[in-house]
């Protein structure tokens, strides 16, 4: 939990002062995929409040980032019924398209290269999260 909090804070700080890569989007997306069934409401709340902080520090209209993040996470959860989202290809694709839309929506440049780097980073984070402890879904499969 402490590690997760640290990662969320680091992503928020870096994104608000030094980097245009949407680190917070990557972190909440990977958290949603890892903890999907049980903690999705918590991840949504985190996306909402984190989005407000990013809007405040990047001088954007308040609520814009929260709106984008909640909608994107909702779309991902809709796919949960059709596909296995707890996989590297899904994380890669969803972060790639999510970052493209995010950068386009907020008017940043170097969209393609940032999306490629961001999606690779999200996969790395996903693998780290998985190795640190089994996700809720795996526990559930074990019980069945």
């Amino acid at each position: 939990m402490f590690f997760l909090l640290l990662i969320v804070l680091a992503a928020l700080l870096l994104e608000s002062v030094a980097i245009t890569l949407p680190l917070f989007l990557i972190v909440v997306l990977v958290m949603l995929v890892i903890f999907s069934e049980k903690q999705n409401n918590l991840v949504l709340a985190l996306a909402f409040f984190g989005g407000l902080i990013l809007d405040v520090s990047a001088v954007r209209y308040l609520g814009g980032t929260s709106l984008f993040l909640t909608c994107w996470l909702f779309l991902i959860l809709l796919y949960e019924r059709k596909y296995e989202i707890n996989t590297i290809p899904f994380v890669l694709a969803s972060s790639f398209f999510g970052i493209i839309l995010y950068l386009w929506f907020f008017g940043y440049g170097e969209i393609l290269i940032q999306s490629i780097v961001g999606s690779i980073f999200s996969c790395a984070l996903f693998v780290i999260f998985k190795r640190m402890g089994i996700s809720y879904k795996e526990k559930m499969q074990f019980n069945f």
């Binding site: 409401n41 909402f48 989005g51 609520g63 814009g64 929260s66 709106l67 559930m140």
Partner: protein
């Protein structure tokens, strides 16, 4: 074991059922805040939130900005960074107030609290965030200077923060002249490290190494660039006899990525 599995399934189904209303709640709340913010009705809330986040943002920016790696003691490094930052600020203030143009009476010192770039230290920076906003009477279009060098202009304000487009920002343009030959042209940001002096008449003379300054285009509201602020130095000239105009590539004299403080010109 089976009972445990059933319990998990039930909680899983409940989690799904609960998810949609939570999403709708956050979605509507975000939308409402967004609309209020666009209409300018959320400035109070933004101001309060910025009062909380600004010190953290300022501190983390100076930490990221001054950290250069190495394995020294972190506390000592942070203290040294603080002292160095204070010395830099004092020096910047002393230097700025020693400059005659622009007059120090019209300047407000502002700390840089954000310098977003794809890869910090490697990618080109064309925008910065400063810790002064509409509560400090900062207006859109105000010039940002460092000593007698033009840095950029304010393009977005909020109660305690403002966004500054730097001279190399794509789409940034204004009139300029050269100091030695008095050639007139239009400075244009290209999104790269250098800027371009365009639309210079073929009959005018451009010289490599000549300093380019603002021509001055202050409007009736007092906004715009005052004359004779330094933009940079000509590093290459593009002149073709068949073309209507000639152009020159200009290098800025101030490296914005090394700055921690700039000055907002007030009118």
């Amino acid at each position: 074991m089976q009972e445990e599995g059933k319990a998990v399934t039930i909680s899983y189904m409940r989690g799904r059922r609960k998810f949609f209303p939570v999403f709708v709640g956050f979605f509507l709340l975000s939308l409402l805040i967004f609309i209020f913010s666009q209409k300018g009705l959320a400035n109070g809330v933004t101001g309060v939130l910025q009062t909380i986040t600004l010190p953290i943002q300022r501190y983390s920016f100076s930490f990221f900005h001054s950290s250069s790696g190495g394995d020294e003691n972190i506390d000592l490094r942070m203290q040294a960074a603080k002292v160095a930052a204070l010395e830099k600020d004092n020096q910047a203030l002393r230097d700025q107030f020693a400059v005659i143009n622009p007059s120090s009476k019209t300047l407000i010192p502002a700390f840089i609290v954000g310098m977003p770039a794809f890869l910090p230290g490697i990618s080109i920076v064309d925008e910065i965030i400063i810790d002064k906003g509409s509560d400090d009477k900062i207006k859109l279009g105000s010039s940002i200077v460092f000593k007698d060098n033009l840095i950029g202009k304010i393009v977005k304000t909020s109660p305690h923060l403002s966004v500054v487009d730097l001279l190399n920002h794509k789409g940034f343009s204004f009139t300029a002249k050269t100091t030695a030959t008095h050639a007139l042209g239009i400075m244009q940001g290209t999104g790269t490290e250098t800027i371009v002096l365009n639309n210079v008449l073929l009959s005018d003379t451009l010289q490599k190494g000549d300093i380019v300054v603002t021509k001055g285009d202050i409007n009736s509201d007092g906004l715009g660039f005052p004359p004779d602020l330094i933009i940079g130095k000509i590093i290459s000239i593009n002149k073709k006899a068949s073309a209507l105009f000639q152009s020159a590539e200009v290098e800025r004299l101030v490296d914005v990525t090394r700055l921690e403080m700039v000055f907002v010109m007030m009118r």
